[in-house]
Symmetry: D2
């Protein structure tokens, strides 16, 4: 029985829903998997603490993180996370410094510039495409909380030398929008996450 | 009391819903307006007959036709309809000839090449933009049943010299899609149609 | 020997060149064709006068008009011209009224709403695609001088009941731009016009 | 007098020119700068060797690498290079393994996952925007030879603990194309590189 922690985010930026929360809420645990679902806040610091607490309590074998990529029209499987908090205000109205003065800074001073996902991203992409779900490999998870969380998990597992596979999947909007932006059926995204979980159970990369 | 006929289409091309049917279904008649709703088939010939029958029975002062513009991310207010049935198979699998051999033909042999919408498209666009609803003027309603219906109504009113204002509004998808295409909130589109109706009541162009 | 008048436009809107002028300048007359080249001003009124004067002097069997479609990444073969001067200031800084007050008006009061191109647009598109040149059929030539000129020619030939085939082809930018917009090789566009001319000689639609 | 090595690439993928070669060829050395220009092959292994040889011979204070980002409509200033040779055949028809069997592999086994550019990318972007040149920060330099060269330089300077600032700038196409893809004026791109060089001379980040 493999223990997998799957995370999503709360709505942010004025959105009423976050596709990651909707899809994760509907995901069924594949056979052979004990699944723990966790909703993270879109706040520097707090998001990381919440993630780390859940890892300590649940002791997962793998962590699949998910988030919203507004404007994307495909599932994005992130291959790499950077050691960078962009100059973006979080839901508390604060930069990663905890202050209101615009600033960009490393996620962890002294940590490597980046980590690769330890999921088999290509295998997940192929499995999605086999079911005609639009899916791309992405080489940048952005500079906001999604990248922050992905980097934080990979950095911690690397530092502690723990064999926990971890990676991130970005989802398009799950709701029709006033501005006519691209969106994707929630059922398709839910299915995409179940396909990814099934691939993780089959044998992660690490 | 102004009588307005508002039309929409059935789902087509394998879609489960048609945004025009969804939005028209939810539209409330603005004050001073008796509203008649009509769903048209996506079939050459039948769509026109159904429209003409409703016009004969209801005797509207204005006709607002609506349809789906898949892939669009804004409300499209059509300014002109062409005398052309494109070489496109309808839901019966037939071309406008009624046959299966690829063919393009005029909607009515001997009719003018085109008619302008007799709605005040610019005023409707301005009213939509005043409520931050993405709206563009369009100078081509395509070559399928939407253009066919718009042309048919305008042609008939011109031939009979009847002062009935008529025009067409294209709507983006109303549902999230597997392919991540643009879509728009149903409530926004419903509101857009109510705004258009209110403008039509205020005084049409003709 | 078929006489064909081919027209292009001067640069406008601050551009240094107009792709239509560049391409028409390089076009060679296909065999069996006497070709007359004409550069038109981007000015309401003057453009039409210049076109009509050339038609009177040259007495062509066919007229191929060309212009710039900034932002397009394909050759656009226009199927229809509308009886509409959009509310756009020309190179003299004037609207189609000849004044500076924003106004939209018909090209010719009392004329039909539109004319179809009397070239065989589909045949031209197929001939272009056969040489791997990106080409689309377009159902709107816009509301500026290109549409104005196309309508003017078709309207005049219809009024005078003259069997002169006429149509319009829009071209992408021919130069690399500061804003990184799409553009197309001049040689490809020149070739495209020669292919169109060859199709016109073979036998026009009318 | 600061010594700067500026590199570009040969044309590849069937292209007749490479915008980086064209722009670098025209770049003038800003005042206070000794500029060395180097054209690199689009071949795994050889590109790196050629770069390293030039660094050894010239002993630059800074290295500005440039390449082609086909399809982009803006100057892209790369912030990060990954330790990854994508599964892409080079101009010799070989993968980074030197063989023909599809494979993805690290640029240097055991090296960090990524390095950040040691140029002040934000300052360069601001300087470009001050002259209305479209410029974006990019967080992925792709997985081909551009990323390979950027990573190789940064990795070597880090390993040898040398204070040589280095970074990469991607350029749009410099020629109009048959497929109507975005492109940018060569003079604008040449100017962009001179602006970047001036910023590097003013004081690099490191």
């Amino acid at each position: 029985m493999k223990k997998i922690l799957i995370t999503c985010f709360e709505p942010f930026g004025g959105e009423k829903i976050n596709p990651s929360e909707e899809a994760v809420g509907k995901v069924s645990a594949p056979r052979g998997c004990e699944l723990k679902k966790l909703r993270l806040p879109v706040r520097w610091g707090e998001a990381q603490k919440s993630l780390f607490d859940a890892i300590d309590a649940f002791l997962p074998d793998a962590v699949l993180m998910t988030g919203q990529a507004g404007g994307s029209s495909a599932i994005r499987i992130e291959r790499v996370a950077m050691n960078l908090c962009g100059a973006i205000k979080d839901e508390n109205g604060l930069y990663a410094t905890g202050g209101t003065e615009e600033a960009e800074l490393p996620i962890r001073e002294g940590a490597p510039a980046a980590y690769f996902s330890t999921l088999d991203c290509k295998k997940i992409q192929n499995a999605l495409k086999a079911e005609d779900i639009p899916a791309v490999l992405s080489y940048s998870a952005g500079t906001y909380i999604c990248n922050y969380i992905m980097f934080s998990a990979l950095d911690r597992f690397a530092c502690e030398n723990r064999k926990i596979s971890a990676g991130f999947i970005h989802l398009p909007y799950a709701n029709c929008r006033k501005d006519g932006a691209p969106s994707m059926e929630l059922d398709v995204m839910t299915r995409a996450l179940e396909i990814a979980l099934a691939q993780i159970i089959l044998g992660e990369k690490l």
